[in-house]
């Protein structure tokens, strides 16, 4: 009986992790950090991040041989009067966060390039978060003014700062990317094969353990040269996360309009974590993928496993 229970437990745990990974990979409600690199469906071995205008120009030239590049142009030139306090108080952060990412791949016959843009148009911290950030900044400044630096305390305070920076704010981000391919290495005959546009609204109230994300995404794949369209989707989604002392609950719903099939379907995913004790978390997950036949992507079940990691959407 004990052996049977052990096998059952291991089986359940493995199944749970498998399904949770599926759910996690389905979560597209956050804009990708580097849209240009994402659209290429390949992970470049290294991403060039130039810090000067000259280095940026060199990186662009190097892209012709294949590679990846990511840059935030605003910071290519130092801003001596732009303080951390200015950054906290600023609401329109489009310039500071405007990020360009480009990936290129070269084979014997084809040259593929995928440029992408991303920026945070608006970011408003709540008064409580703003006050907390400025207080943390003052504390860090004092620690950094010490004759002998206490790096452990500085690290701890920096971690606190990072946590405050993602709570108590309202943010609007947009991104876009295209992917083109050429068989003769010329831009003239570049065939547009993929494009995507993302818009993301996030609200993390400082007084509640909640996080709400809304997403709009348009994606297209095909061949512009051949006037062929393989898929065209418009996704509208919302995600809600609750992080309590013992319970974490994440849920998302995405409605998809499929222009090729002229149909609309939805996807739903829910993950619940319950902290039973310090090292034991009970996980329950369920979901339904995009499909016109209502495919279930994870059968509902309560999974028991020993883990220190919480499953997240």
């Amino acid at each position: 009986m004990k052996k049977l229970l052990t096998i059952l437990l291991i089986t359940c745990t493995s199944a749970a992790y498998g399904q949770d990974t599926t759910l996690r990979s389905l979560n597209d409600l956050y804009i990708p950090n580097s849209p240009g690199l994402i659209l290429g469906d390949k992970s470049p071995s290294s991403v060039d991040k130039p810090t000067t205008p000259r280095a940026f120009a060199v990186s662009l030239i190097n892209l012709a041989q294949g590679g990846a590049l990511e840059v935030t142009p605003y910071w290519l030139k130092s801003k001596p009067n732009y303080t951390y306090t200015d950054w906290v108080k600023r609401k329109f952060t489009m310039l500071e966060t405007f990020n360009i990412s480009v990936a290129s791949y070269k084979t014997n016959n084809t040259f593929t390039v995928a440029p992408g843009l991303r920026t945070q148009i608006l970011r408003i911290f709540s008064k409580k978060s703003k006050d907390s950030l400025l207080k943390a900044e003052a504390e860090l400044s004092f620690l950094l003014g010490a004759h002998v630096l206490d790096t452990a305390k500085i690290n701890q305070k920096r971690d606190e700062l990072r946590k405050i920076q993602v709570k108590g704010l309202f943010a609007l981000e947009v991104a876009g990317a295209i992917l083109g391919s050429s068989t003769d290495n010329s831009f003239k005959k570049m065939d547009l094969q993929k494009s995507g546009v993302w818009a993301n609204v996030r609200w993390d109230p400082s007084d509640a353990p909640l996080s709400v994300v809304g997403l709009g995404r348009y994606s297209w794949a095909g061949s512009k040269l051949n006037n062929k369209s393989d898929s065209t989707f418009l996704d509208l989604g919302v995600s809600l996360s609750y992080v309590g002392r013992k319970i974490d609950l994440s849920a998302e719903y995405v409605s998809r309009k499929d222009y090729q099939a002229n149909k609309r379907y939805g996807r739903v995913a829910v993950v619940l974590n319950y902290l039973l004790s310090e090292n034991i978390i009970l996980v329950a997950s369920t979901g339904k993928n995009f499909s016109n036949v209502n495919d279930i992507i994870a059968v509902f079940g309560v999974k028991f496993g020993v883990s220190t990691q919480k499953a997240k959407l």
Partner: protein
């Protein structure tokens, strides 16, 4: 968290006998920093942390003394690893000294050691 240290040669700063010299240290590029300010001939720290409109003293009392400033900058800006620090003296010449450098990675600390000789 790595630390990069840069020590600069002393800078001569001319002051007038009757005017107050006021110091402001600005950490740019949206990073966070703090400074320790003291005279070279005294172990006493004049100010620590953020330095804004700090009264260093009257020109006549400062002449011949050296002001030592150590500024530590924590790179918290994910958009750049560049560091820029400006030491601004009111009623002194040169009034501004700007220091540009960079760290290797986000979260690194840059230590800038400077001294100013009042003449």
């Amino acid at each position: 968290m790595a630390t990069k240290t840069k020590k600069n040669p002393p800078v001569n700063v001319s002051v007038s006998d009757t005017e107050n010299v006021i110091l402001t240290i600005t950490i740019g590029n949206a990073d966070i920093g703090g400074s320790e300010v003291k005279f070279g001939d005294s172990p006493d720290v004049l100010i620590r942390g953020k330095v804004t409109d700090f009264l260093v003293g009257k020109g006549a009392a400062l002449r011949g003394r050296t002001l030592e400033i150590t500024t530590n900058v924590l790179d918290v800006n994910p958009g750049t690893n560049k560091i820029v620090v400006t030491h601004d003296f009111d009623n002194a010449n040169p009034s501004k000294s700007r220091y540009d450098d960079s760290v290797d990675a986000d979260g690194d600390i840059y230590t800038l050691i400077t001294s100013y000789v009042f003449i």
